[in-house]
Structures are given as C-alpha cells and as structure tokens.
C-alpha cells in the first residue's frame, strides 16, 4: 500500500526545476506523479516514479539532496465528495496529514490522492477498516 516518493531540495529561483527533470528525462525515466511545494526561499520537488531507486542514484550523483519516504495512495471516484469520505475516516481516526496532492489516473478517469502521513501504517489500517480502496505501488507505478 505504500508508494515510494523522492523529495529533492531546490532553491526558489528561476530555472531551478529544469536540471533535475532534464536529468531524469535523459535517463529515460518517466514520472507517474509530481508535486512542488514552495516557500519564498526554497522548494521541495516531490516525485513518484517506478524506477525511483535509479532516479535517486542519478540525482544524488549529480549533487542533489534527495530523500525517500512512503506515501499512501487512495483512489476515489471523480465525483463530488470523492475525497470527503477518506478525510472523514482519517479525521475520526486522528491520523494527521502532513501534506497531500492529487492526480488523474490515465486509464479510467479515476483520481489518485497521495497522502503523506507521519504514521502511514496507522493510516492504512484506519482506511482499510473503513473499506476505502488504496492503490498498491505495482498498480500505480506499473508492474
């Protein structure tokens, strides 16, 4: 149920997003998802991809500071209230969300929500108990 995510430290200045993505493109690595958190000074580029281990190696070798952590993927209907039920369960179970982001899954128009929890195992158990579907890495990333 856990989806590996890479985070890369970027300075918040024009053009800083390009080089790491260029590097991954040149290596033929395709992204499944991406999100960018930014402050006035710096940004954190978050990447989800199948070959995260190789991406990490390439980025680190090129001098970026990279961190790997686990996300939890929930897939919901692309309809009003799709997210609400999952949030209700998490709130009731007292599972804090550090941050989250969403993206469309290409095939069947469903929406994937990626959550960062301090306690991913606890959150997975709570969602599971409530019958909320989560996507395993092999489905989200392929293979």
């Amino acid at each position: 149920m856990k989806i590996p995510q890479l985070s890369v430290f970027l300075e918040n200045r024009p053009g800083s997003l390009l080089p790491p993505l260029q590097l991954l493109a040149e290596a033929g690595l395709n992204l499944a998802g991406l999100s960018l958190a930014d402050t006035a000074q710096f940004g954190i580029l978050r990447l989800v991809l199948k070959d995260w281990a190789r991406a990490r190696e390439l980025l680190e070798r090129a001098g970026w500071v990279v961190k790997r952590n686990d996300m939890v993927a929930i897939d919901v209907d692309d309809a009003p209230g799709g997210l609400v039920r999952a949030l209700e369960v998490l709130t009731a179970a007292g599972k804090d969300i550090e941050y989250m982001y969403a993206f469309y899954l290409r095939r069947d128009g469903r929406v994937v929500l990626l959550f960062r929890f301090d306690d991913p195992d606890g959150a997975i158990a709570a969602l599971d108990d409530a019958g909320i579907a989560m996507l395993p890495a092999r489905v989200l990333l392929g293979e």
């Binding site: 995510q5 985070s7 430290f9 970027l10 300075e11 800083s16 958190a37 402050t39 000074q41 710096f42 954190i44 978050r46 001098g63 970026w64 500071v65 990279v66 961190k67 952590n69 550090e98 941050y99 960062r116």
Partner: protein
C-alpha cells in the same frame, strides 16, 4: 603530587607528567633558560629573526629575565607564508626528520619542521595531554585524527604510544568502519574533531549501536572550537567524558594545552610553550585573567622555533591554582578566533560564533557563508547554509523549523538579528575544499 594520580585504574602515575607539577619557581627558571637558548638559536640560524631583533635594537642576549619577552618582535602567519618553504628553519636539512604542512585557505601552505628532539618533545607533550585526560597503559585509543601532512594524526599517535596505550591508527573518515572498529576492538578512548564525533555518534544510532553500551569512556577532542552545550550533549548522549585539547602546527601540532579532570580551562605545557595574552589591536601584553589574543613562544623547539607567534585565538590566562594540582597555568577554552572578525551594527562578530551555533543545531558543520549587505542604510547579515542529506526533509514545516532553529541559535550567540537562507548543496563556492566564509557587499 596528588595521591589520586598514583592510584588510577592502571595502578600507576605516568612519570612523564611530573613536569605538570613543578613548583612555579622552578618552572620559571626552566622557562628563562630555554627562552634565552631559543633567542640565541634564532639569532644564529634564522636571518629574518636576526634582522627583526636587530631592528628592535636587541641582540643574541636580549633576554635577561622572563618579562623581557614582551620586548621581542611578533611572528605572524604571513611570515611563514612569505618564507615558504624553508625560510624559518633553524636546523640544516640533515637534522630535520619530519615536515608537516597545513593547507592554507588562501595561497601557499605553511610548512613546519621537526628535528628528532622536536618529535620527542611533541610526543612528550601529547603523552602528558592524554595522561591529563585520564588515559593510561591498558587504554585502547582509536585515533581518528587525519594522518598525513596534518599534525593531528601523527601527534596523537606518538602521544598515545608514549603512554603505553594501544593505538588504533584509523585516521579520519569512513564513519561506518570506524563504528565497527570502535565496537569490535573495544576502544576505551577516541580522539578526533568534536564535529566528527557527533557525526559518528549519529551514524551509530542509525546503525542501531548505542555507544553507551560500549567500553568507550573518554573522548579527546580538538582542532576546532566547540561549545559547552555541545560538550554536554556529547557526554550525556554517549556516556563518555569529553576533553578539550589545543594546539597548532606552527607551534608543534596538538599538545600545546589540554584539559584535566576539572574541565575548567586547558593547562598549557608551559615548560615547552610560553603563553602570553596581548591586546590584539595595540599588541601590548595584558595581565593574567584578561581576555585577548593568545601569543605563544616555543621554548624547546630546534628545527623551527617560534618567537611570540600570534595565534589569532582569543582567550584569557587563568592564573588561579587548579584543583587537579597541576602548576601549569590554564587558558580558557577557545571559542573564537580573531581572523575574520567583522563589525555589524557596532557588534563584533566572529564567523566561529556562527559556526558553533550551526554545530549546536545540526551536529556537524555544514558549508555556510555569511553575506553582509546594506539595505536602506542599514547593515544586514544573512547566513546561507547548504542543506545536507542529514537535515533535509520532504516537509516544508520541518525545513522552516530548521531554518528558525539555526537563526535563533545564531541570534542568541551574537545578539543581532540575522537572515537565514537554506541553499542547495555545492552552491557555496569553495577554494581548495574550504568555503569562503565572509562576503561583504556593504560597500559595493
């Protein structure tokens, strides 16, 4: 001699430490005799020193009593650079058995030389250093100071061997291997820079090894300033007693001064290295107890004697007798150097103060740079700190909190507000591996 020193765990007092307990009067006689010999030696063998003494209307016999030392001219780091490589040697090369060099941040390195006797004196000073830190025969000393041109590794090596301890000459770096050796060989003491030890302790925790459960009981730390807060953290988190030692290559390497069990200042091995404190601006000597720049004169060195070498380290001589019984005077722990001091909004700031704040927050010293600028007539100080894998987080909140902690620690130390920027790795320019610490754009 204090009785407890005769009854340490090994059942013996190292006779070499006897010089730590000389009556003051006897010590002063030795100092005077050796100072006279040193001045005569540089007069005879070092043209630059002879010229400088003559310019001060002093001769080969300039020293009648110890206080006459204040009449001698200073030696500064630039003198070593200007005479690179061998210009200050007082011994012919066949008598020189060792050369060391420091990697200067700017320009040429500084070369230092030792005769066989010099190496012996150095080893003696380092043996007395380790004895002062409570080590003895039977201790297993992991020496993680770098071996090579840097004086730290070999200095500590000879000292620990002189003590009769078992030395593990692991040198610097390769943290995981160091932790394995520390555990498998049962080292009872480690010597290294304090920041390396903090790094090593963190790595050990990551590997699931609790240093408190190992035989390690003593840490001998030097070669960079470290705060009392850092000491407290090192001691409580790792179950060791941490000792501060002091030295510099120009004088001998490590072994110039060391803490004893009282941890209240560092005893200077005064029979070999004569300490003075001067006002850094006027160059005038200051009385014991007052803070100023430490000036050291070698009393036993043959290959490269140093007369009144200005260390740029700021400290004070503590004249009161020490509870350990040593008669050697102490210097206060060195928290800062006079090197790159700058003044902002009327406050004197030393980069080393910023460093100790960074060390306190991050545990190890990241690459950083201080940028001074002027905005609307007001001086601004910004510290740029490179993000390391150890402190990086995928959470904005965690990085903002880190930024806040570092800024707060710096402001707490120097007393003025600073801006703090986290910057990418390798974004601060380096020269010869070291970052340029200060960029002053106030007059651009």
């Amino acid at each position: 001699m204090p009785k407890e020193l005769w009854n340490d765990a090994a059942g013996g007092f190292h006779p070499i430490s006897a010089s730590d307990f000389l009556p003051r009067e006897r010590l002063r006689e030795i100092q005077l005799r050796r100072l006279q010999a040193t001045v005569a030696r540089v007069w005879d063998h070092v043209p630059l020193m002879r010229q400088r003494l003559s310019a001060c209307e002093l001769g080969r016999d300039a020293i009648g009593r110890l206080a006459d030392i204040a009449r001698l001219p200073f030696t500064v780091k630039a003198d070593l650079r200007d005479t690179y490589p061998f210009g200050l040697f007082a011994s012919p090369m066949p008598e020189v058995v060792r050369l060391h060099a420091s990697s200067g941040t700017t320009g040429k390195p500084i070369v230092v030389a030792y005769t066989e006797e010099d190496v012996q004196v150095w080893a003696e000073a380092m043996t007395r250093t380790f004895a002062s830190c409570g080590l003895h025969r039977g201790d297993i000393v992991q020496n993680a100071f770098g071996y090579g041109l840097f004086t730290g590794g070999l200095g500590a090596h000879y000292g620990a061997e002189g003590l009769g301890a078992t030395v593990i000459p692991v040198s610097g770096g390769n943290t995981e291997r160091q932790i394995m050796l520390l555990r498998d060989f049962g080292a009872t003491a480690i010597c290294c820079t304090p920041s390396f030890f903090v790094h090593l302790a963190e790595k050990a925790r990551e590997m699931g090894i609790d240093l408190r459960t190992l035989p390690l009981r003593v840490g001998v730390f030097g070669a960079e300033p470290w705060s009392d807060g850092m000491r407290e953290r090192i001691e409580t988190e790792n179950g060791i007693e941490a000792f501060d030692i002091y030295g510099l290559s120009e004088i001998t390497g490590p072994g110039v001064a060391a803490e004893c069990s009282e941890h209240d200042g560092l005893h200077v091995f005064e029979d070999h290295f004569y300490p003075e404190i001067i006002d850094a601006e006027t160059g005038l000597p200051l009385p014991d107890g007052e803070e100023g720049e430490l000036v050291l004169t070698t009393l036993s060195k043959r290959a490269m004697p140093m007369i009144r070498y200005r260390t740029r380290d700021i400290t004070a001589i503590l004249p009161e007798p020490c509870a350990c019984g040593r008669t050697l005077r102490r210097i206060r722990r060195i928290a800062r150097r006079d090197d790159d001091m700058f003044i902002i909004r009327g406050v004197n700031v030393f980069p080393s103060q910023v460093e100790s704040a960074l060390l306190e927050v991050e545990g190890t010293l990241p690459h950083y740079q201080i940028v001074l600028s002027r905005q609307a007539g007001l001086d601004q100080m910004t510290v740029e700190v490179e993000v390391t894998p150890e402190v990086f987080s995928d959470k904005v909140r965690a990085l903002e909190a880190l930024r806040g902690r570092i800024a707060h620690a710096i402001e707490h130390t120097i007393g003025i507000r600073v801006g703090l920027r986290l910057v990418g790795p390798q974004s601060i320019p380096r020269s010869e591996g070291k970052a340029k610490r200060l960029i002053d754009r106030r007059h651009d």
